[in-house]
């Protein structure tokens, strides 16, 4: 069995194609792995029978020679993606019994290409959180935990934990302010947030519409390229979807980065970031230099405003996006005498603390008298942040930054929301600018926890981002398996 789990997506793809293994075998291996790692709590809904049925179907297609690019590959799906007839809760009590009658565009793209659905993965409630602790069904445990349970990061904590624990060959995630990259960093895997507009948002439970973007969490950069190839694409059902062709990302894996310019933004190294991370960051710079890239110090002066801007815009949009969960048409309803009482009870009991906090912040910053000072100002600063990037990308091809200021922390350790929000400090700026970013594991800190490094590229430059990420990946040669992983 362990041989099967050792295959990364690219290798499994080849083995399946050459009929060295079957999808049913591979899927069974993962279903066993899920069972072995169930204490991590990554899956909140397991689709055992469905997965085997899909796997059988994939094997048939492979035999018929009509296999899709992801044919027979078992993956997990973050519970933010609506999946037809399969419970979709966004890790919230308010949607605890919601069965969509439709399939999100991104997951549909994956099934169309042959992927096998293992089940739904836990996340922070409505993707609001950086530790996976706001999930209605409770924590997910980072597979790198030794004696003390550590956070897998969030909000795609279930996705990251599943991939790191080898209980999914790959997983989908969504990233609003770092929700793919930060958990990928905490769990020692690769997490790619594409350019805003690259993947359709249709059918993904909305958190913050101007920031939400789907992307893959995988073991390797190559796997991320394969996954995004299938996930991305123009969708006329999403007005913000980009009508742009994306070349085959795998063809960029081995492109040389010789002569490419890598910007090192000075604003990303100042605040109290861990020494280990600084040292791995410096090593990473050296790796890229050794691969022929030119290292250029740059400045993005408005970076320090990114976090406050994010925590105005995202809650503002969320307060409006989450208004539909009102107990009237679907989801949880708490009966009451009047409509207003019903709203209050339903939403009061249905939403957890963090979601309620953000709805309140969002409502406040949009309310009359405060709109100009908060929301409007935040939008203006967001533009300045975007301009910082635009100016910088006139001189460099990529930016290299740490993914997070620290490695994984203990569950329950960060009680104060503001301390928690600081986790997003390096991922939020690219989100606000809509830029693609990837976090890749480069090593372990002194506590034996993975360190992630982030690469940011210009809008829609995922192809070259894959080249540079793959180059760094090869140099870093991170090949340690989490001790909590299935063997």
């Amino acid at each position: 069995m362990s041989d099967l789990l050792n295959l990364d997506l690219s290798s499994a793809q080849k083995s399946l194609k050459n009929r060295e293994i079957s999808s049913v075998e591979l899927t069974k291996a993962y279903l066993d792995a899920i069972e072995k790692t169930s204490s991590l709590g990554a899956y909140i809904d397991l689709q055992k029978d469905y997965a085997l049925e899909m796997a059988k179907n994939s094997d048939k297609k492979i035999n018929q020679g009509v296999a899709g690019p992801l044919e027979g590959i078992p993956i997990g799906v973050k519970d933010m993606f609506c999946t037809k007839d399969i419970k979709t809760t966004a890790s919230s009590k308010i949607l605890e019994n919601f069965y969509p009658t439709y399939e999100s565009t991104v997951t549909q793209n994956l099934w169309n290409d042959g992927a096998v659905m293992l089940g739904k993965l836990s996340c922070d409630e409505f993707a609001m959180g950086s530790s996976n602790e706001t999930a209605a069904k409770g924590n997910v445990i980072n597979p790198w935990s030794k004696t003390i349970p550590m956070s897998p990061g969030g909000s795609s904590g279930g996705s990251a934990a599943a991939v790191a624990s080898r209980s999914a060959l790959a997983a989908t995630g969504t990233d609003t302010g770092g929700s793919i990259r930060q958990p990928a960093a905490f769990c020692g895997i690769t997490g790619l947030k594409p350019t805003y507009g690259r993947c359709s948002r249709w059918g993904i439970v909305a958190f913050s519409s101007s920031l939400d973007q789907a992307g893959p969490l995988t073991r390797t950069v190559s796997d991320a390229a394969i996954m995004l190839n299938s996930m991305a694409g123009y969708d006329n059902k999403d007005s913000t979807s980009a009508n742009l062709e994306m070349p085959d990302l795998t063809s960029y894996l081995d492109k040389s980065i010789k002569g490419k310019k890598i910007g090192i933004p000075k604003e990303y190294t100042q605040d109290g970031i861990s020494e280990d991370i600084v040292s791995f960051y410096e090593t990473s710079i050296q790796f890229l230099k050794d691969s022929g890239a030119e290292i250029i110090p740059v400045s993005l002066p408005h970076t320090k405003y990114a976090l406050p801007v994010y925590y105005i815009i995202a809650p503002a949009e969320a307060s409006s996006n989450l208004a539909r969960y009102d107990g009237v048409r679907y989801g949880t309803r708490k009966e009451a005498e009047s409509l207003d009482d019903m709203y209050e009870l339903t939403r009061g009991e249905g939403f957890g603390d963090e979601v309620q906090r953000r709805i309140m912040i969002g409502t406040y910053v949009l309310s009359s008298g405060y709109y100009d000072a908060y929301y409007l100002k935040a939008q203006k600063v967001r533009r300045l942040i975007k301009e910082d990037f635009d100016n910088t990308f006139e001189n460099v091809d990529f930016l290299l930054t740490p993914s997070t200021p620290s490695t994984a922390f203990e569950l329950g350790q960060k009680q104060d929301p503001l301390t928690m929000y600081l986790n997003d400090i390096f991922t939020v700026p690219a989100s606000l600018a809509g830029l693609p970013g990837i976090s890749i594991p480069v090593g372990l800190d002194k506590a034996g926890l993975p360190v992630g490094i982030q690469l940011i590229a210009n809008s829609f430059d995922e192809p070259n981002l894959i080249s540079v990420a793959h180059t760094l990946e090869k140099s870093a040669n991170f090949n340690v398996i989490a001790q909590g992983a299935a063997k």
Binding site: P100, S208, S239
Partner: protein
């Protein structure tokens, strides 16, 4: 009392003198579109509750709005017809509030950057005068669903068929000064919308409804505090509601009170307005640009293309009718009121006497349709047949009097006038000899009256004409009868 009778429309007599009304209207016009503003669901009415509801309308998780291009076209068309500024870039905003029939928890509307800016229209008043009313803006927005509170003793039911249907909100400037002007304004907007096909203008079905902002002031003073009367769905109610609201405000002010800015409802049974919610209870709508939608952008050339598809509008048509067809201003304004009228008229009057056609259409045709309670579009008399009838009159084939009988026949049998005239042998007699025979007969039978006539009772000529016409069963050419009688009676 006499003073009241002398008041001009829009004036209210109070103890302290004459008050003037200041009125602004927000018209909500449902766009004649097969599908909704942001979803593919059908926008037609009359279907079973919740049968025209898409996933987007029901605000299911992860659903996204996609703008309906046809609706944008209609808004641009309307803007052009209102002589208004077309904004090539506009923005959709979310208007946030909770209500059971508002699935998203917000209405998608346009707040700071509407698709159409300032414009103006000329309205016709009953006294024959015209006045210009400014348009502040026109924006696109979604309609809400319908709450049904009378279906169950303790529950409310929700019908989402109307949810997301495309509306244009046309906001006037506070340029209106009387309920009658308000009525004329709505009539004009309605007429324009129907001409260009952007809205069917059906007020009974709610495709066109108005919110009226009313305040009062002494002439020359600054604007007073206004109240908004919501959701009026007939011109009669608009007129009644504004009148009664203005009187209410005058009473309050003159009793030493102050007008509270609020939203009011018009009670059709009492003919009065009552408070719906005060300004303090007003929602904070937390408008912000909808991040699910990109700004709405289009090119000048696209606007030009749409301009090319605009039909001739009532104002220019009216001028053309007066100048080219020689009809009166009054008749012309009746005919241009509805596009169907004017289309009918232009076809009927083609090649025949325009003035006569207008008379016949307005007096005879409209009268007969009203009497028989037949919708104009179902008229048994077609434009082509009316034109034929006019031609028969002009050529002297039948007299005007016979024509009325023929017309009545046409209303019943739908036959062509020539056919009826032929079948019934109604051709006018214009043969001197034939008429002289009848005249001789009348003269010989009425010798005493002839004597009186010759003795100076000129008025008796009418009597003789009548007798001859009677004898001819109305077929004699009345002009000829007149002429020949005069000669015979010398």
């Amino acid at each position: 009392m006499n003073d009241t009778l002398n008041l001009k429309p829009g004036q209210v007599k109070g103890d302290t003198g004459i008050w003037e009304m200041v009125i602004g209207l927000e018209i909500h016009a449902q766009i004649s579109s097969k599908s909704k503003l942001f979803s593919g669901a059908s926008a037609s009415f009359g279907s079973d509750a919740n049968s025209s509801v898409s996933l987007v309308d029901a605000a299911m998780p992860g659903m996204l709005p996609v703008i309906n291009k046809f609706c944008v076209e209609q808004a641009v068309k309307t803007g052009l017809a209102l002589n208004a500024q077309i904004n090539n870039t506009s923005v959709f905003d979310r208007k946030n509030y909770f209500y059971a029939d508002l699935p998203q928890g917000y209405q998608i509307s346009q707040f700071t950057k509407p698709i159409v800016g300032e414009g103006e229209i000329v309205i016709d008043l009953d006294d024959g005068n015209q006045t210009t009313i400014g348009i502040e803006r026109l924006h696109l927005e979604q309609d809400a669903g319908k709450s049904l509170h009378d279906q169950h003793p303790t529950k409310s039911f929700i019908d989402l068929n109307r949810t997301g249907v495309a509306l244009m909100e046309i906001v006037s400037k506070p340029d209106i000064r009387s309920p009658q002007e308000a009525g004329a304004y709505v009539k004009k907007i309605r007429s324009i919308l129907r001409y260009i096909g952007a809205c069917d203008g059906n007020m009974e079905e709610g495709s066109l409804r108005a919110d009226c902002n009313v305040s009062v002031r002494k002439q020359g003073d600054a604007f007073g505090t206004r109240c908004e009367i919501k959701n009026l769905n007939s011109i009669r109610f608009i007129i009644q509601a504004i009148q009664s609201e203005a009187e209410r405000q005058v009473d309050i002010i003159e009793a030493g009170g102050k007008i509270k800015q609020e939203t009011r409802l018009f009670d059709t049974s009492t003919g009065e307005t009552r408070s719906m919610r005060s300004k303090e209870d007003a929602h904070d709508y937390r408008y912000f640009p909808d991040p699910d939608l990109l700004p709405l952008e289009f090119s000048d050339s696209w606007v030009k293309e749409i301009k090319g598809t605009l039909p001739e509008l009532p104002d220019t048509l009216k001028k053309r009718l007066v100048n080219d067809y020689g009809i009166t201003d009054y008749d012309a304004s009746i005919l241009v009121e509805e596009k169907d009228f004017v289309d009918f008229y232009l076809e009927a009057a083609n090649g025949v006497d325009g003035k006569l056609t207008a008379n016949w259409m307005i007096t005879e045709l409209f009268g007969a349709l009203k009497k028989e309670n037949i919708m104009f579009l179902n008229s048994p008399v077609t434009p082509q047949k009316l034109g034929e009838l006019i031609a028969l009159i002009s050529k002297g084939v039948i007299s005007g009097k016979i024509a009325k009988d023929v017309f009545s026949d046409m209303m019943v049998t739908k036959k062509s006038p020539s056919e009826i005239v032929k079948e019934k042998g109604l051709e006018q007699v214009s043969d001197d000899k034939a008429i002289m025979k009848l005249i001789d007969k009348v003269i010989s039978e009425n010798q005493d009256k002839v004597k009186d006539y010759l003795g100076g009772k000129d008025k008796l000529l009418g009597f003789f004409v009548g007798q001859v016409m009677k004898l001819s069963q109305g077929k004699a050419n009345p002009g000829l009868v007149n002429k020949l009688l005069k000669e015979s009676l010398k």
